[in-house]
């Protein structure tokens, strides 16, 4: 081993997957004998583990003239959801009493998935329990939309979303495994989200 050689910035490049196999082999050989570089590589790997533990959207392309609406909306919704969760579990002390939020409590209490609505309507998302015991529909904007659950071609009216500030929302506790959810306006289907 060259005593003057240390991995330096290559620790982060290794952990990020930016090195080829030959370059990684050189790093592996070095850290096998250099405790300081081994520790630095371990720290870089910890950072990657933190990134891998959550499904964040990638950093925005600031050179692009248009930021994709869906991705931007997902981030802002999750900020709202995280904030609501923070109120419930007491991480943030609001002015006045904490508000009750059945959707947030349902999310804390069970495993859930989410799906994006696609169609001609506003940006919208459904968060739903893995066991399909509840569905939480969030639509961008303050419009009211009828939500239908579709199963084997049959539609069931779940109710209408209600404006909640910058979003319009519906939380429905119903133990039915729908194939998809539809957002409708005056009977016309606007967009659909597949439930998987």
């Amino acid at each position: 081993m060259d005593p003057e050689f240390h991995i330096g910035d290559s620790a982060e490049l290794y952990a990020a997957g930016a090195l080829d196999e030959r370059e990684r082999a050189e790093i592996d050989a070095h850290v096998a004998e250099c405790r300081d570089c081994l520790r630095r590589l371990g720290e870089a790997e910890e950072t990657i583990l933190t990134l891998e533990r959550v499904s964040v959207t990638e950093p925005p392309d600031r050179t692009a003239s248009v930021v994709p609406l869906q991705r931007r909306s997902v981030a802002s919704w999750w900020l709202a959801v995280a904030t609501a969760a923070a109120f419930i579990v007491g991480f943030v002390i609001p002015h006045g009493a904490p508000r009750s939020n059945v959707a947030t409590l349902a999310m804390i209490g069970s495993h859930f998935s989410h799906a994006q609505f696609a169609g001609t309507g506003p940006a919208a998302k459904v968060i739903y329990a893995r066991d399909r015991s509840w569905y939480y529909v969030i639509v961008a904007g303050s419009g009211r939309y009828d939500v239908y659950g579709i199963r084997n071609g049959r539609a069931l009216d779940l109710g209408a979303t209600q404006p909640q500030g910058a979003t319009s929302e519906l939380f429905k506790r119903i133990g039915k495994p729908f194939d998809r959810l539809e957002l409708r306006n005056r009977g016309a289907a606007l967009e659909t989200a597949a439930i998987r």
Partner: protein, 149 residues
Amino acid sequence: MRTAALRVLRDADAARECVQDVFLHLWRSGSAYSAQRGSLEAFLVVCARNRALTRVRGESRARETARRTDAPEDYTMEEDPIERERVQRALTRLTEGQADVVRLAYYRGMTLAEVAADLGIPIGTVKGRLSAALRALRRELTVEGADGP
């Protein structure tokens, strides 16, 4: 490990094979892990991710692009939404140059040469920005974690 590989490969069977390859490789070559390195989980996740990236870089770029474009938008959400927001916020604090290389090299799995060509900057600059970005993320996340509830 499987999730890390799946995010790169976008294919459940390929991700499973990738994880098996990693364990087989570590078994045959003798593990490069020791306690001084840090978290075993972090080591294995980086191994899986590197193996997956090697695999997709070996495929034709067209096939890879098609698969990434077709990737589903929804992920299974067993993760902590507060942790997710913490990481998202740390990413937004990167400089524009750092965010560009993280987006292309980390999230899209491009090689350093591909990132350099895409951004029209020297490969040495790409290396420097990517390395600085990860160190900045580590500082942000460590400080936030220490100050958090």
